[in-house]
């Protein structure tokens, strides 16, 4: 039995608007990150994989099952939507139980798995709490618990860490990594830090086109030797911004510590730095737009 | 003043338009379903009280609908203008639409040689519209559920047809058919209380 997701020549339309353009992708066991700005097509791709949208063109198989056979795919896919919500008057346990029934779990299985999972997401003391009384982070954790309730082979998580505080975010990433040991976990995000901390393989979407697929290391390599940092005065900052892509800055009194992208060494005081995922991502997005990261030579 | 006018314009375009269309369909069907010409006092009252007044439910109950989603409600509640004003403006706009519909319908009946006192019948029917619609608006505000809002006045209507004035006493909505207007005072008072109460309840719900 296949344990991979295969996407071949996938095109997707919303009316006349093309949301995905000829996407080809193979996803293996482990964490897989989908990166891209808002509206790039990440959610559309995830919805096709979780049978929520009919594919317009192309071949998509999930663990050997064609997505057109929705029922068979639903059996092995768990989905956590961007906005997870549940009937507000149900308790945490009732919500899990209800969704468990819908997933086709027998009573004995539910009785065994629900407490286990709630423990795993640290909600064991809140089983009798109503869904409407949960905080954002608790709701997300309930969301992940329900998504893996039926022990799916594939877990699809849309923007998992949006709206979480830093502590919750770290915990949530770790949880996803644990889950990914034995299955495919696809997560979409526009928060680069999430990818950096969790994923080995990634794909980057831009306006429906796949502009990168490969490892995180490979992406970083693209930007290697192109990231510089320098301490400049605030007055110079405007000029620098005009010519380079600034990936971060830190104000130090009258001066600013900037990190920016340049194809060639720009000026004497600039120091070459090790590239991070965020730098690489910014580099990629700019390159894709047909703009060189370095427009003019500075000074 | 301009801002209230703006609220009503948005209401008209995004909320009321559909309901106005429903009213036009309901009133437009009247000549097909029943006689609207040469009616006597009683039959005119029946058409107005038992049929035309139903558009009150259509127009007034969904006054809170645009803010049904919690997020939208939170957002609008955070703004400077009080929600109560927004609801009041919509209510005034929608009840003005009701008045226009009723004037047109009454004029049509008169033009078709129906015999009835125009002003009392207009006011009596209008009061019933406010009462029926107010009942819906009140329960929508109370239960935060549009369907319950529609259900209550419809149940009231059915009860009025089924058990007549025996149980509803002063709140019997079809009194003009029997030539009595005293019930209309009670309906008017109750209708106004329902509308104020409904808006107040809705504003308190966070």
């Amino acid at each position: 039995m296949s344990t991979t997701i295969k996407i071949r020549n996938l095109n997707q339309y919303y009316g006349k608007k093309q949301a995905l353009k000829d996407v080809n992708l193979t996803i293996e066991t482990g964490m897989f990150g989908l990166l891209g700005r808002n509206g790039a097509g990440k959610t559309t791709l995830m919805k096709v994989l979780s049978t929520l949208l009919p594919k317009s063109e192309g071949d998509v198989t999930v663990c050997g099952r064609n997505v057109e056979q929705a029922q068979s795919v639903r059996k092995i896919v768990g989905y956590l939507p961007q906005e997870f919500s549940m009937y507000p008057n149900m308790t945490v346990y009732e919500a899990m139980d209800y969704l468990g029934v819908l997933s086709g779990l027998k009573k004995s299985q539910r009785k065994q798995r629900i407490p286990q999972l709630l423990h795993r997401v640290n909600l064991q003391d809140d089983t009798r709490k109503k869904v409407k009384a949960l905080s954002g982070g608790m709701k997300r954790r309930l969301g992940i618990a329900q998504a893996i309730l039926h022990n799916p082979k594939v877990l699809i998580v849309d923007e998992p860490t949006a709206g979480l505080d830093p502590e919750e975010r770290v915990r949530f990433r770790n949880l996803l990594c644990e889950i990914a040991e034995k299955r495919i976990v696809i997560l979409s995000t526009h928060i680069v830090g999430d990818i950096e901390a969790t994923c080995e393989n990634i794909a980057v979407l831009d306006e429906g086109e796949m502009i990168y697929r490969g490892t995180v290391g490979g992406l970083i390599q693209m930007a290697e030797g192109k990231v510089y940092s320098a301490e400049i005065s605030k007055r110079e900052l405007e000029l620098l911004k005009k010519n380079y892509i600034v990936t971060s800055m830190l104000t130090l009194g009258n001066n600013v510590m900037v990190r920016f992208l340049a194809e060639e060494p720009p000026f004497a005081s600039a120091q070459l730095c090790e590239a991070g995922v965020e730098d690489a991502y910014m580099y990629l997005m700019q390159a894709e737009r047909g703009e060189s990261a370095c427009l003019d030579s500075y000074l | 003043m301009e801002k209230y006018w703006q609220i009503e314009k948005v209401n008209f375009k995004y909320n009321a338009a559909l309901h106005i269309l429903v009213c036009i369909i309901i009133l437009g069907l009247a000549p097909v379903l029943m006689g609207v010409a040469n009616l006597g006092k009683q039959d005119s009252a029946k058409v107005l009280e038992m049929y035309v007044a139903l558009i009150g439910i259509v127009m007034l109950t969904p006054v809170f609908l645009p803010e049904q989603a919690k997020e939208i409600r939170d957002l609008t509640a955070s703004k400077y203008m009080k929600s109560a004003y927004v609801y009041a403006v919509r209510f005034v706009g929608n009840s003005a639409a009701l008045a226009v519909f009723l004037i047109l319908f009454v004029a049509m009946l008169k033009n078709n040689h129906c015999e009835f006192p125009v002003i009392p019948y207009f006011l009596g029917t209008y009061v019933e519209m406010l009462f029926m619609g107010g009942l819906g608006l009140f329960f929508y505000g109370l239960c935060d559920n549009l369907v319950i809002g529609y259900m209550m006045p419809i149940m009231y209507y059915i009860a009025a047809i089924g058990s007549g004035s025996k149980f509803l006493k002063f709140f019997y909505p079809f009194s003009m058919v029997r030539g009595s207007y005293t019930e209309k005072w009670a309906l008017a008072a109750a209708g106004i209380l329902f509308i104020i109460g409904g808006i107040a309840l809705r504003c308190r719900r966070k």
Partner: protein, 416 residues
């Protein structure tokens, strides 16, 4: 799987406010209409009156209906009640000529002059023996010798069509034209039918169904619309869409749960009149049918409940709005008002809300039974078709199609 989901749906229903409002409505309906139920005593000889009933004598029906036709033709104005509201119809010249042919065939009177003379004769005759005037103003007229009853019915149906329905010549009104006072024998016969044929409880179960079906013709729609919209409000649609359960199981369990939960209060309430029947039966020595109420609940009420539920589910799933309330409200309005002219039973037709507003009148129930059965089976079938369509829509929405509020349509609309 179905069973477990069904139980979960029942729990959801029990916890919803709207369900208890529906129960309250049903209880109030019962207590206001049948709360003080008095079991009918046996009629005694020498009572001042025994009420009225519709004569089944074909001659009486024909003569009084033709009388009404001549009078209306004479006045050139026809009263109709297409859906229970008065509507006066004036005919065009061509329609009048068609009606004149009908009059000629039925009465032999040819043209306006002959009819005028017949009317004058009738009133002259009335004035002469005015003491015998039982029903003031209602003219009777003898048909031609050749007119068979079947031909008469055919002609009157034609006249009713010309007048746009709801006239005095349609089936319901034809019967009512022949209203006559009951004699002691008539009253006794009705009572005997109640005791022997209906075993007492049958008649009261029918009356109970009559009061219940009025509300059950609309309240299920509120429950159904609320249930379907709850998914949208709680934003759980996508979450449920991606589960393994088939659309048949999801939609079916919801439908069945609501049906059962509506039937339970009806059955519980029906125990009260049943107990009264049993009590009366034991003192009067009458055998009572213990299962009459259950039979009528299933036979008379369930098809209507199913239809209203199915309309609610179908339109809400299709449009994601409360449109079903409007549609079912309109359907209810037309159904109830169009049968308002005759609620004593027998004329069930294809009405969603069949009426029989008396514990008596077994004979007409018996006569109309096959029509009633056809009617009820039709609505069960209609409800099942609507549920099946709901399942189709639901499974399409799960796959991202037919979503009125979805992005696909949003993009299309903006391109228009």
């Amino acid at each position: 799987m179905f069973g477990q989901l069904f139980i979960k749906e029942i729990r959801q229903t029990v916890k919803s406010l709207i369900y208890w409002l529906v129960v309250l409505v049903l209880v109030l309906d019962f207590s206001s209409q049948l709360g003080k139920l008095e079991i009918m005593p046996e009629p005694k000889k020498g009572q001042e009156e025994y009420g009225v009933h519709y004569s089944k004598d074909k001659d009486v029906i024909i003569e009084s209906t033709l009388g009404a036709l001549l009078e209306e033709y004479y006045r050139e104005s026809y009263s109709t009640y297409p859906i229970g509201f008065y509507k006066s119809v004036t005919l065009s010249d061509m329609e009048t000529r068609k009606l004149e042919e009908i009059i000629k065939e039925a009465t032999g009177l040819d043209g306006r002059e002959e009819v005028d003379r017949a009317i004058d004769d009738w009133y002259a005759g009335q004035e002469q023996d005015s003491e015998q005037m039982v029903m003031a103003g209602s003219m009777k007229y003898k048909p031609t010798d050749e007119l068979s009853y079947d031909k008469f019915v055919e002609l009157m149906e034609e006249a009713d069509d010309i007048l746009g329905g709801g006239s005095k010549y349609g089936a319901a009104k034809r019967k009512q034209n022949a209203v006559v006072p009951m004699t002691y024998e008539d009253a006794l016969e009705e009572y005997q039918a109640l005791i022997k044929k209906d075993k007492l409880s049958g008649g009261y179960a029918r009356l109970f169904s009559d009061y219940m079906v009025i509300f059950l013709g609309i309240v299920p729609v509120f429950l159904a619309v609320t249930r379907i919209l709850r998914d949208r409000r709680a934003q759980v649609q996508e979450l449920i869409y991606t589960r393994k359960s088939s659309s048949i199981v999801i939609v079916g369990s919801r439908f069945l749960a609501m049906l059962v939960m509506l039937l339970i209060p009806v059955l519980v309430i029906s125990v009260i009149p049943l107990a009264q029947c049993i009590e009366y039966g034991s003192t009067a020595g009458v055998t009572v049918d213990f299962f009459a109420f259950v039979k009528y609940c299933f036979g008379w009420l369930v098809p209507t409940i199913m239809t209203a539920l199915a309309v609610g589910m179908f339109l809400t799933e299709l449009t994601d709005t409360a449109l079903a309330v409007l549609v079912q409200g309109a359907w209810w309005f037309v159904s109830v008002f169009s049968s308002m002219q005759d609620i004593r039973g027998g004329m069930y037709g294809w009405n969603l809300i069949p009426r029989h507003n008396t514990e008596l009148n077994w004979s007409e129930y018996h006569d109309g039974f096959s029509q009633l059965m056809a009617n009820r089976i039709f609505y069960v079938a209609l409800a099942l078709v609507l549920v099946a369509l709901t399942i189709v829509i639901y499974s399409q929405k799960r796959k991202g199609r037919m979503q009125i509020r979805g992005k696909i349509l949003a993009n299309r609309e903006s391109k228009l």
